[in-house]
């Protein structure tokens, strides 16, 4: 357990230090602490689900000719919004950079930036997945009553021992 916690702390710290995450992330954590279990996990699930999709569509749009820069910009705007909301700092930075280039409507530089953005996003995604997984495990470990990794299944499964009281 201690190891787990230790791991978590280190991980978290590095995420913050490397600016993959920023203050907003801390806010989310605080929200969770106020009695919203699994909030962070939930939020990041939502986020990555959308962000991955958005990035894919942006990639597709860039491959089209002619490039529909307006659409790309709109997609990026959306990505900026939710990335900022979860505290994905580096992703936001890349998004901004790309949006600036979009204004210039230069396909080549846009592509390069897109790759960069994608990379940052994927890095974050990987790390967050690892982190959140660890978090889950840590929480599970702390709460012996809960099923391992049980993400709050409210299935009325008579066999489940985790019946919410």
């Amino acid at each position: 357990m201690a190891d787990l916690h230790q791991q978590l702390t280190t991980m978290r710290q590095s995420l913050l230090d490397e600016e993959l995450l920023d203050e907003q992330f801390v806010q989310l954590e605080e929200l969770e602490a106020e009695g919203n279990p699994n909030f962070v996990v939930e939020v990041f699930s939502l986020y990555f689900r959308d962000s991955t999709k958005t990035l894919e569509s942006v990639g597709q749009m860039l491959e089209k000719t002619p490039v529909e820069f307006d659409k790309v910009d709109r997609a990026l705007h959306m990505l900026k919004g939710n990335s900022a909301s979860v505290g994905a700092y580096k992703v936001v930075t890349e998004v901004n950079r790309m949006r600036d280039l979009i204004e210039e409507k230069n396909p080549e530089s846009c592509n390069a930036t897109y790759e960069q953005l994608k990379k940052e996003h994927d890095v974050l995604k990987g790390k967050m997945e690892a982190y959140l997984q660890l978090l889950k495990e840590a929480e599970a470990a702390e709460k012996p009553s809960q099923g391992g990794g049980g993400g709050g299944d409210d299935d009325e499964d008579p066999m489940s021992s985790t019946e919410s009281s």
Binding site: E34, N36, V43, L46, Y47, D50, M78, N82, A84, S85
Partner: protein
């Protein structure tokens, strides 16, 4: 805690609890599930009662279904199904709830847009919980303002305003945040300035139709459909406390006129003309063809047969006449007439342009009340009078001319008069024109005036006689005024074809005042494009404004120009765009109409400037139009224009008064 997903689930609102702001009923609209979730959590942490929506339409229907079920709305700016600002407008109109906009975009324009559309606040994403902790202040503030308004109106419509009903209305209050609030404040201020008195029997103070209020009104009207928009329903839809059905009714009336003016001016004109001029319709047609140039010529010659002027005026008046009764109230008459009309010098040796165009001119004059110089107006009046009013003393002032206008309907009589007076009149004409006839008068003046006097006039007269049947307005005589009437001609989109040319030719042929017409035009131009607004103004002129008003008209150049632009705008498609362009087109010789355009263009800047100014004032009109064609941008444009106006022209009193507003600002 129910899990609120992106679907909208409204929790029964039981009003604000005692632990306010806890329990504040918030509706969040955001198409991004991540943000929505986060906001939801944050708001719940603030102890608010949260409902989430991911679509604007769902949000709107939720709000509609649960009137008074929410206290405040948070909405994202960029949403796929409906623009956040549009939603904002809807909410403001229908429910009058405070709305906070959110976006990852922090560009100044976007934020400004939020302000102008009436958002209480604008939050930049990522949103911190601290920012959300204080949103209740907007609710309180709004309630406070509403109470204050209610008190002012002397009627409490929402007696059950929950909680915080703050009686200490301090307007100067706390925050001018929220355009709504500032709008209200402005409303208060405008109230004093507002001349239009919409309120009827109720002791409510005069309602100042601020930008926001008007937007609400327009949205409500659009929602109901212009045909089915009845004051009662509009009032309900607007849901503005303190607003009475009477307020809405009178505003609606004006609005309808405005619309009619914009879209059906030509017809209206025709119709009105007929009413006025009876036989003059033909004349009007002809007159309409009189482009500004001709009018100018007419004016230049100062010999615009009163008839022609009269006809023109009649034409113009016709329109305005019809409206005058109505539009006048709408228009700020004083504005209309306040234009200095340095250009009134139609009568000054203007060539006598065919009065045929007079009708047009008349219209123009009408339209451009402001451009007429006072003296010109007087001249016009006089001249008009001499011509038209059968026996109106030429030197009578605008007042007379106004009377002259009326008689326009009797072309025949006028003709005679004109013919008589024409010859001797020129100077008189000018005086007569004073009134709205100014436009026509200008024409007449131009015609009659034709400095060269009689000859030119003769021509003009002839022309006038033909056209003027209605134009007898002595007003036309205003020709003394700088043939600003010419530009008016141009505004007549209708027949501007042949007729004007005739006029021109006649004018030119006449006293060789052809050239002078340019001068007149020049003068006219100076008169300004105030006429922009004139469309309505013209109307006001009809109301036989005393010389003053006429003068405004006399600024025919401006009038004409404006008129042209206006008419062009109107004729073309009544798009407000046209109107705005009208001012420009006036100068730029709107289409083919304006032969005189070049002339008009001469004193370009003055006119141009004016039109612009007028334009801005006209914006409220445009807003009407904009509303007609539900284009979001037009309203935005209006807003922009409006804002610009504000800067440029000063506090635009409820700019919604189409036309006439500009009058004030038009620097003569």
């Amino acid at each position: 805690m129910s899990t609120l997903t992106s679907s909208c689930s409204w929790k029964a609102g039981d009003g604000v609890s005692d632990q306010f702001p806890a329990g504040l009923r918030v509706l969040v609209v955001d198409d991004d599930p991540t943000c929505l979730r986060i906001l939801e959590k944050m708001l719940k942490t603030c102890q608010y009662q949260v409902t989430t929506c991911s679509r604007s339409d769902v949000a709107l229907s939720t709000l509609r279904d649960n009137k008074n079920g929410f206290d405040i709305v948070l909405s994202d700016v960029h949403m796929p199904d409906m623009d956040g600002f549009k939603l904002l407008e809807h909410i403001g109109l229908e429910m009058d709830l405070p709305v906070i906009m959110m976006s990852a975009d922090d560009g100044k324009q976007v934020v400004m847009k939020g302000v102008t559309h009436g958002a209480c606040d604008y939050l930049i994403k990522p949103i911190r919980i601290e920012a959300l902790k204080n949103i209740w202040q907007h609710v309180v503030r709004k309630r406070k303002n509403e109470w204050k308004e209610l008190e002012q109106c002397g009627s409490v419509e929402d007696g059950d305003r929950p909680q915080k009903h703050l009686e200490d209305v301090d307007y100067s209050s706390t925050a001018n945040e929220g355009s709504w609030k500032s709008g209200k404040r402005r409303k208060e201020e405008e109230d004093d300035a507002e001349e239009r008195d919409d309120s009827s029997t109720l002791k409510k103070p005069r309602v100042v139709w601020s930008v926001e209020l008007h937007q609400q009104f327009v949205s409500a009207v659009n929602q109901l459909g212009i045909d089915k928009a009845v004051p009662k329903k509009i009032l309900e839809l607007m849901n503005v406390p303190g607003l009475t059905r009477e307020n809405v009714a009178s505003h609606l009336q004006k609005y309808r006129l405005y619309l009619r003016r914009l879209s059906g001016v030509p017809q209206h004109q025709a119709g009105v003309n007929s009413s006025f001029i009876g036989t003059q319709d033909a004349g009007f047609g002809a007159i309409s063809s009189l482009n500004g140039y001709e009018i100018q010529a007419l004016a230049a010659t100062g010999q615009l047969a009163p008839q022609s002027l009269a006809t023109l005026q009649a034409a113009g008046l016709g329109r305005s006449a019809g409206k005058s009764g109505i539009s006048i109230p709408m228009l700020d008459q004083r504005n209309l007439f306040s234009f200095d009309n340095p250009k009134l010098r139609f009568g000054e040796g203007q060539s006598q342009q065919n009065l045929g165009t007079n009708s047009k001119q008349a219209n123009l004059l009408h339209g451009i009340p402001t451009t007429m110089e006072p003296k010109q107006l007087v001249n016009l009046q006089q001249s008009a009078q001499s011509f038209g009013s059968m026996s109106m003393p030429v030197h009578t002032h605008g007042a007379q001319s106004s009377s002259l206008l009326m008689p326009m309907g009797q072309p025949q009589a006028r003709r005679h008069v004109i013919s008589e007076s024409g010859s001797s009149r020129p100077p008189v004409l000018q005086a007569n024109m004073g009134q709205s006839i100014m436009s026509t008068g200008l024409v007449g003046q131009a015609l009659g005036r034709s400095g060269t006097a009689e000859n030119g006039r003769g021509l003009g007269h002839n022309a006038i006689l033909q056209t003027s049947s209605a134009m007898n307005f002595p007003m036309n005589q205003v020709s003394d005024a700088p043939v600003s009437s010419f530009p008016i001609q141009s505004t007549f989109p209708t027949s501007k074809g042949g007729y004007p040319e005739d006029v021109n030719s006649s004018i030119i042929k006449g006293p060789g005042g052809g050239m002078p017409s340019y001068d007149i035009l020049h003068d006219l131009q100076q008169i300004r494009s105030n006429d922009w607004e004139f469309q309505n103004v013209g109307v006001t002129f009809d109301t036989s404004q005393p010389g003053n008003s006429v003068q405004g008209n006399i600024d025919t150049s401006g009038l004409l120009l404006v008129h042209q632009g206006l008419s062009s705008g109107q004729s073309s498609n009544g798009h407000n765009r046209n109107i705005s362009a009208a001012g420009k087109s006036l100068l730029s010789a709107d289409g083919n109409r304006q032969v005189t355009t070049p002339n008009v263009g001469q004193p370009p800047t003055s006119l141009v400037d004016n039109p612009v100014q007028i334009k801005t004032e006209g914006f409220p009109d445009m807003s009407y139009q904009a509303v007609l064609y539900p284009e979001h941008y037009s309203q935005e444009d209006i807003m922009n224009a409006f804002l610009k106006q504000q800067q440029g022209i000063g506090p635009p009193d409820s700019e919604f008064e189409f036309d006439g507003f500009s009058v004030n600002n038009i620097p003569v």
